[in-house]
Every structure is written in structure tokens, then in C-alpha cells.
């Protein structure tokens, strides 16, 4: 009776992307914030409150809001490049 190996059904496996965390900021004082609005109801409300508290408690710098074109798909590369250029950190809010 021929014996065979059982096959792995996961295909070629997951994305082998770089999933390391970005270096952490040492201080938020004066740091430029990006707010990434996923367009779901309440996302902008939640993010505005996060920004308000960061200003009040951490004296953060300029705040810029970015808006995804559709909440279910990845952020467009051009938007990522803008955030990389203009922000020291970004808060992504999921409204619902």
C-alpha cells in the first residue's frame, strides 16, 4: 500500500512583508500628527477628540487629517507617502 504525505492546504503562505514596528517617538511635544479617517460614521468625531486630548496633554504640533477612499482596502501609496513626509506619527481611527 503506497503511503503519501498529507498536503498543506495553506498555499504559498502569507505575505512576507516587513512587520517590524517603526521606531517609537521619544516625545510627542511638537510632533506632527496625522489622523487617518477611514470614512466610517464617527471616525472623524473620534479622531478629532483624540487630537484634542493629545494637544491638551502632550502639547503636540500640527495636526493633518487624511481620508481613505474606502475603509475596507489598504491606504493608497500616494497617501502613505504624504503621511511619511508630513507626519511624525499617525493615528488610524475605525469608526462604526
Amino acid at each position: 500500500m503506497a503511503r503519501e504525505l498529507l498536503l498543506d492546504p495553506t498555499g504559498d503562505g502569507g505575505a512576507a512583508g516587513d512587520d517590524r514596528l517603526a521606531p517609537r517617538l521619544r516625545t510627542l511635544r511638537g510632533a506632527r500628527i496625522g489622523l487617518l479617517d477611514n470614512t466610517k460614521p464617527n471616525a472623524s468625531v473620534l479622531l478629532a477628540e483624540v487630537a484634542r486630548q493629545l494637544r491638551r496633554d502632550h502639547d503636540v504640533g500640527e495636526v493633518t487629517t487624511y481620508v481613505k477612499s474606502y475603509f475596507g482596502t489598504p491606504v493608497e501609496e500616494s497617501l502613505i507617502q504624504q503621511m511619511l513626509k508630513n507626519c511624525d506619527f499617525v493615528v488610524a481611527g475605525i469608526g462604526d
Binding site: 504525505l5 498529507l6 498536503l7 470614512t39 472623524s44 482596502t73
Partner: protein
């Protein structure tokens, strides 16, 4: 050793196949191998080896490395080979595999599955509707218990999609699948149209396929809601009953919804006897499926949010008026057009029972459908 043991559920088993002996430790070891790794939907799966896989790959001309479906947001894709392993794992017979491949083709045409809807809190599942000669060839049920259990082809073709979602795309509950509650259709959802007892042209013919062809049409569904109307032969009454089922406010996440009427043959006949075509049915239900502004306000869904057009109360910070309000109407249609409603015929011809499938999204565009290639003849 008889091939009969692999036949569809209910097939006569030949005498020599009545007694089968196995090495139960080996069977259990194979089952547990898959279960322990989470390569299952919770039910046992069929062990798959390279020689068994070869039988699946032999049913298609496609290269095993061809991609059948992508999820760009996960950076993952599924090949013909991986789809075949999961079809075998689901319990499909090799001859079902062309239907599974057509299902992936149809699912690719739908805008939502590739954009993460299968991971959503909404908890949708893919539903497949099969038409054409392949139904008889592989034993797909289109009659009694069409949404129920008991038919290997229906059960395993739908399950092949689910196991692929779990294994290839990693859509495991509590992980990449964040459904709040989901639906029983997540185990499997594959029906065939009862073309033989439908008074109208088959569904796939409406979608542009040849009647002699087989096809799979894919949908993203949340609910299958049943409708009881055994009492009436008045088409307007039946249309209103269907419209009322479709118009429930609980289904409204978007500004409008979409649906598929799965009419039992008796209900299809009520319409046909009155001279109504499927287009007439769609139009009649569309016109009757609406909510008053007051009914929507009573559940806090009288406006829509600016970006997503999801229903919210008028005092929500993101609220803007819906299209009906912009047009000055307090009668708010639940469908954006008659085309947002599809009509198929399935089930037994034994009672006035139908189902309203709630499909995800406003819709109205062409349904996602793909032809199932005919089996290769010798030399093909």
C-alpha cells in the same frame, strides 16, 4: 474498493462496498493532523495527498500556478492548486472542481470579496447559484431542502470556498475574520436553480449564458429570510408580501439594500399564470418595497452618513439627507432600482414557500457569473 462509495449521497451502494475495513488509527491520525493545525471549519476534512490532488487538477486545463482569487489588502492570493487542495479537503469529488473554479471566477467579478467583506463584522458568506447541465451531472440539488443538508455536491462545493478562505487567506474567526455573529451560510451555501419547474428562462440565460452552458453566479449574503404565503393566487398580494420581507429596517446598513428572491415553484407559477415575467416581478416588488420616513425615523435610520452612505439618525454629526429626501419624498425605496433584485426559482413544488436572500451592498449592476467549462473529451 468500489467506486460506488464515492457517489453522491443516496446513491446505491454495491454489495462489495458494504463492508469496508480501515486502519482506524491511521484515519484518526490524518483527521487530527488537519484539525490540530486549524485547517478546518470545525468539521472533519478529507485527507488530501498528491495523487488524489492530481485527479482534481486533471479536470481543468488551467495551470496549477494560475491565481484564482486575490486579497490585495492581505497580500495573499490563491492558486488553482491551493483551490484544488481545499476542494478535496472539503469533500468534493474531482468532477466538482470545474464548478469550484467557476465559483472563484464569479467571486472575483464581485467587488466586495476582494475588498475585505468576508472579514467584516457584518458577517456575510458567499452564496453560489448553479445553472445548467452540470447540476444533473454532479447531483446538485435544486428541489426540496435546497438550502438544507444531504447533498454532497451542494455541501462540499460551498465548503470548498470556506476552507480556502480559512486556509489560504487566513480568515479564521477571532483573527482575520471579525464577524460579530456571522451566518450558518459560512459553513456552506451552494444551491442549484430548479430550471425544470420554473416557468421562466433559467437564471444564467438571463445573465447572457447559453441555455446549454452551465454557470455559477456568486453573491455576498447575510441572511436567507423565509416567506410563507400558501393562501394566495393573487400576484399583487404575493409581490407585497415579498416586498414587506425585503423592506425590514433591520437589513438597512447602507442607504438601500439588494436581494435575490428564491421563489418556490408554486410562487413562480402564481406570477406566471397572471402573465408576469421575471422583469414584472422585479418591478412590482421594487415599487412595493419602501419605508415611510417616519418608520425610518422611529429606528434612527432616516438619514445617511456623508462618506459611506450608511443609515444614521438625522442628528448624527455625519448625517446628510438620503436620495429620497433630496427628491422631496417621504416614501423611501429600499432598493435603488428593480435591477438590485434578482429572481431565481428553487425548492420543491409542494407549498407556497419562498425565500428572500439579503445580499450585501446596494447593487443594481450585472450579477457576478462565470461559465463552467464542459468536461474535457478525449484528446481535449
Amino acid at each position: 474498493m468500489s467506486a460506488a462509495v464515492q457517489g453522491p449521497v443516496g446513491e446505491q451502494v454495491t454489495d462489495e462496498a458494504i463492508e469496508v475495513d480501515v486502519d482506524i488509527d491511521d484515519v484518526r491520525r490524518a483527521m487530527e493532523h488537519y484539525a490540530r493545525r486549524g485547517w478546518t471549519d470545525g468539521l472533519p476534512v478529507m485527507p488530501v495527498t498528491e495523487s488524489y490532488l492530481t485527479e482534481f487538477l486533471a479536470t481543468t486545463d488551467r495551470d496549477p500556478a494560475d491565481v484564482v482569487f486575490r486579497m490585495p489588502h492581505l497580500g495573499r492570493s490563491c492558486t488553482v492548486r491551493a483551490a484544488a487542495i481545499n476542494a478535496a479537503l472539503a469533500g468534493c469529488l474531482p468532477e466538482y472542481f470545474p464548478v469550484v473554479l467557476a465559483a472563484w471566477e464569479a467571486l472575483t467579478l464581485d467587488e466586495y470579496p476582494g475588498k475585505g467583506i468576508w472579514q467584516s463584522t457584518t458577517g456575510t458568506a458567499p452564496l453560489l447559484i448553479v445553472n445548467g447541465p452540470v447540476r444533473e451531472r454532479i447531483g446538485l440539488n435544486s428541489r426540496g431542502n435546497v438550502f438544507g443538508s444531504g447533498f454532497r455536491a451542494n455541501a462540499t462545493i460551498g465548503r470548498a470556498i470556506r476552507l480556502t478562505a480559512i486556509n489560504v487567506f487566513g480568515l479564521r474567526p477571532h483573527e482575520l475574520d471579525q464577524a460579530t455573529q456571522a451566518t450558518p451560510a459560512k459553513y456552506t451555501a451552494c444551491i442549484a436553480e430548479n430550471e425544470e419547474q420554473s416557468p421562466w428562462a433559467p437564471f444564467h440565460v438571463d445573465l447572457g449564458h447559453d441555455p446549454a452552458d452551465s454557470a455559477v453566479t456568486a453573491m455576498v449574503v447575510r441572511s436567507v429570510v423565509h416567506l410563507e404565503a400558501r393562501h394566495t393566487v393573487v400576484p399583487e398580494q404575493l409581490a407585497l408580501d415579498l416586498a414587506g420581507t425585503l423592506a425590514r429596517t433591520g437589513a438597512l446598513i447602507h442607504e438601500t439594500i439588494s436581494g435575490c428572491l428564491v421563489l418556490g415553484p408554486e410562487h413562480a407559477e402564481v406570477f406566471d399564470r397572471a402573465g408576469w415575467s421575471k422583469t414584472d416581478v422585479r418591478q412590482a416588488v421594487y415599487e412595493r418595497a419602501w419605508n415611510s420616513r417616519a418608520a425610518l425615523a422611529a429606528v434612527g435610520k432616516e438619514a445617511v452618513s456623508r462618506s459611506t452612505r450608511w443609515r444614521v439618525p438625522a442628528d448624527h454629526p455625519d448625517a446628510v439627507p438620503d436620495r429620497a429626501a433630496e427628491a422631496g419624498s417621504d416614501q423611501v425605496a429600499v432598493l435603488n432600482s428593480p435591477e438590485a433584485l434578482l429572481v431565481v426559482v428553487a425548492g420543491a413544488n409542494n407549498a407556497g414557500v419562498s425565500a428572500v436572500i439579503e445580499t450585501f451592498g446596494p447593487r443594481g449592476g450585472p450579477p457576478s457569473t462565470a461559465r463552467v467549462p464542459e468536461p474535457a473529451t478525449s484528446g481535449a
